[in-house]
Assembly symmetry: C3
Homo-oligomer: 141 residues x 3
């Protein structure tokens, strides 16, 4: 079996904390390159936003997720030493540590293997607008 490797970057603009669905962009990367079978490795190139797979149906799930993490990791500068970049910066690093910086997906028959209710999300933890890069790396046929 002859293997190929393709690298790309998906750029997402975020406007405050919450979950941003980027499943479509990653699917387009898979379809346009006509990947059949292989490993698709995603890495976010930042430490104050993260990647998770979550339910793609009810927006309340995304609201509750963001709300839970905000309560668990308060934006209170009295709790942290690293406060120079704002009250949301250290909580952002902690929330990233509690979730994921990478997702390793499988591609089969030109489709990403995902459950019916699963979507790919960038989890933004900073308050200001951000431009986020997600490295995409395919190894396969």
């Amino acid at each position: 079996m002859s293997m190929k490797q393709i690298f790309d970057e998906i750029i997402l603009k975020t406007k405050g904390p919450g979950l941003y669905n980027f499943t479509k962009q990653t699917e387009i990367f898979v379809k346009e390159n006509k990947f059949i079978n292989g490993i698709l490795n995603l890495n976010i190139l930042h430490t104050s936003a993260s990647l998770i797979i979550q339910e793609n149906a009810d927006p309340d799930v995304l609201y509750d997720l963001n709300n839970f993490f905000n309560k668990l990791v308060p934006m209170n500068t009295k709790l942290y030493r690293h406060t120079a970049e704002g009250d949301d910066d250290m909580p952002a690093h902690i929330k990233s540590a509690l979730t994921n910086s990478h997702l390793t997906l499988s591609v089969k028959d030109n489709n990403i293997i995902l459950g019916t209710w699963q979507g790919l999300y960038l989890f933004e933890h900073r308050k200001e607008n951000q431009i986020r890069k997600i490295s995409h790396h395919f190894v396969g046929q």
Copy 2:
């Protein structure tokens, strides 16, 4: 080096919250297919159960883990908007976000690289009986 790719699904029946060891099933997948060296990518196809590597020796570790997550993410509908599917559903999504939806393992000399005390676990977060699918994808020799 000639590479091959094999896909399979392991099905687990769960009976309430807790950790279910599926190391044996994954080892059988590796042995029966005579995989020598390669990447073994596991993805759970659900957002209310997750995958983790944990200690395989003392059952109290599994009890304490489940207990910690239950306290950290209470089954209390007053805390969440997404409550239509029961008091355990939104906590299940949060616990999944706090753990993992995938595990990427290495196979060497027909063995999964794991520490002596490490086992592969499905972490069930729902109360009712469930049928869970874990995608298995091998790329290698």
Copy 3:
């Protein structure tokens, strides 16, 4: 494209809870083996220490991270059943579950794909000195 697979183990000696940067060691593994493009899969062979990608600039971030996890998962034997190995053992398992046992990195043009501020860290959760093994597995060109 001809693919190769190389396995190695990086050993880290830890002296108590906290984050240990091992980016350099992993970069040396990539440089010395002249890997061009591929997947680099890292697995820690223990269940009381974990792997995360975090900020490599301000040491206060590492202090705050460790401090947050210590507060979230108290070393208090009254909270757990599994206490025979010390008050830090069960919290270590929980902190490992909350973070990661593996990291899957992408290598492009002989460099690990990481953001400017990202470093690779072993997160030690035990109090006593430990010798930790991180499996390194490269698949690619």
